[in-house]
Amino acid sequence: MEVKTSRGNLIMNTATMAYRNLLRTFHNPDRFMDVIIQPVMFMLMFGYLFGGAIAGNVQNYLPTIVPGILIQTMLSASSGSGEQIREDLDSGVFDRFKSLPMAHIAPLAGQLFADILRLVIAAVVSLTTGYLMGWRPAAGLGWVVVVGLLAVFTGWAISWIFALLGLLAKNASTVSSFSLIVMLALSFLSNAFIPINTLSKTMKVIAYMNPITYVITAIRQILATGSWTHEAVLVLIFGIGIVAVFAPLTVWAYNRNN
């Protein structure tokens, strides 16, 4: 009898699971479509439709809308985690994972690591579309990279929330429709597309209660000033805070499910 007593190598198992998720994505390029088509479409539509009305012309609107759509795209890319996790849990494959002598948490960890790639692609597509439309931030390329990384980190932190949702929800379509509503509400009820001072009093309160507003403000400031601002530090702390709160909750829900 050959008995493989795995030492439960969490890192190895997680790497294998992340590799599996990437393979699945590459075999199904349509899994990428939402993070590629959506930012391009929104950038073009909003830019050319509302640019004139909101900022006088498209060029003047770009510094407002590029960070806005960048973060909106991060939100929708991160919501994919929950959907994927629910789909996996509902499929027969997950039973197999559970019956293997592997690190118990590896399927979840692998998913969240593989998601980073989705977020990076989404960020690159958003920023490149902006560039092609004529967006030239004063801070220069270096700061654009910093902003991209900050956005990816924020998106990754938020994907823990969606992962929790995926674990608690009944099925994938519930996760998907709920995620869409959350994404739309968070991105539109913020300063993503409009200067906040144009809003009515009530709307201003709502927009200021929305954490996404602060993320977008921080990114605009970095790009305008070319420096690591006070707000950017807050965004980083906010992201770390989300992970600190939601990672244990997600792991708890995951263990409870199993």
Partner: protein, 311 residues
């Protein structure tokens, strides 16, 4: 030295809310044995199997795999068996080779060992030509084969098969049976669930009949069939006037009670070899019959017989 049982199930119970899905089930499976869990849909077969294989927490009772309590030594127990679930538990989106590679790696094999084992299994299960195709183009039989191949990566001594042939066409079903027999010949212990009596009959050394979450009966296929009462014989007597004499002859020959509905007679044969002499007797007495049917016991009969008056 006393050999340890492959599986020991003691008072295993599962409650979902108020409903008891598995009710105090106990049985042992010896090493090298093929053990069948037989029951209709919803009887609790899969729930039982899921608890044994640590996929589902039990509400009560214990399971030991090769002497290791699954509640205390889960990972060790898991390393000793392979599981093929009821629904293809392979990744649809990636190829057969990638599936095998990933599961080999997750089982703790090195990259080189994984590669080698993948190639071996692809060959053994005749999947080499489709190894790099998407699973979406796979037939049901190919998928089951891959599924089984994945369960065998670590050459486990104990293999669980949850309804291995449900949904397969007759030809693929026979192929699957052959594959299972090969595993048995190699010395594996196999636990399979099925809703087909003939499948359990073909493959299993011992069968546990499960109904409404309870273990109704456990025994060899022969013992089980004896309990059910053998083969059912039905025919119609063409001339009503010959009814009495026909019943007399049959009673004498079979020694069993004969059921009569109009001109239709039915009886139970303890052995199929009773059939020819009976037909011969009827013919010699010039009793013409028609609509003859001979029915092997079906699963329905098993349950009618085993669960009568119990629910």
């Amino acid at each position: 030295m006393k050999t340890v049982n492959a599986i020991e199930v003691n008072h295993l119970t599962k409650e979902f809310g108020n409903k008891t899905a598995v009710d105090d089930i106990s049985f042992d499976v010896k090493q090298g044995e093929v053990f069948g869990l037989l029951g209709p849909n919803g009887a609790g077969k899969t729930t039982t199997l899921r608890m044994i294989t640590t996929l589902l927490k039990s509400s009560g009772g214990s399971v030991k795999i090769f002497g290791h309590d699954t509640a205390k030594e889960g990972r060790l127990a898991r390393s000793m068996f392979g599981l093929t679930g009821q629904y293809a538990s392979v990744d649809e989106d990636i190829s057969a080779r990638e599936n095998l590679m990933i599961f080999a790696r997750l089982n703790g094999l090195s990259r080189a060992a994984s590669k080698q084992r993948t190639q071996e299994l692809l060959t053994e299960f005749s999947l080499v030509n489709s190894a790099d195709k998407s699973l979406k183009d796979f037939s049901g039989g190919m998928r089951r084969r891959l599924d089984l191949a994945v369960s065998l990566i670590t050459r486990p001594a104990l293999i669980f098969l949850d309804e291995p042939t449900t949904g397969l066409d007759p030809r693929t079903r026979t192929q699957m049976w052959e594959t299972i027999r090969k595993l048995v010949a190699q010395g594996s212990t196999i636990v399979l669930t099925t809703q087909y009596l003939d499948e359990a009959d073909q493959l299993a050394d011992r069968i546990a009949v499960i109904d409404h979450g309870k273990l109704v009966k456990i025994g060899t296929p022969e013992e089980l069939k004896k309990q059910i009462g053998g083969t059912k014989l039905n025919f119609t007597i063409d001339k009503a006037a010959q009814m009495t004499i026909a019943v007399q002859l049959m009673t004498k020959q079979l020694g069993e009670s004969i059921n009569q509905t109009g001109q239709r007679l039915s009886a139970v044969l303890n052995n199929i070899s009773q059939l020819a002499p009976l037909l011969d007797t009827l013919q010699r007495s010039k009793i013409a019959i028609s609509d003859l049917t001979v029915q092997e016991p079906s699963l329905d009969d098993v349950f009618m017989n085993l669960t009568v008056g119990k629910n």
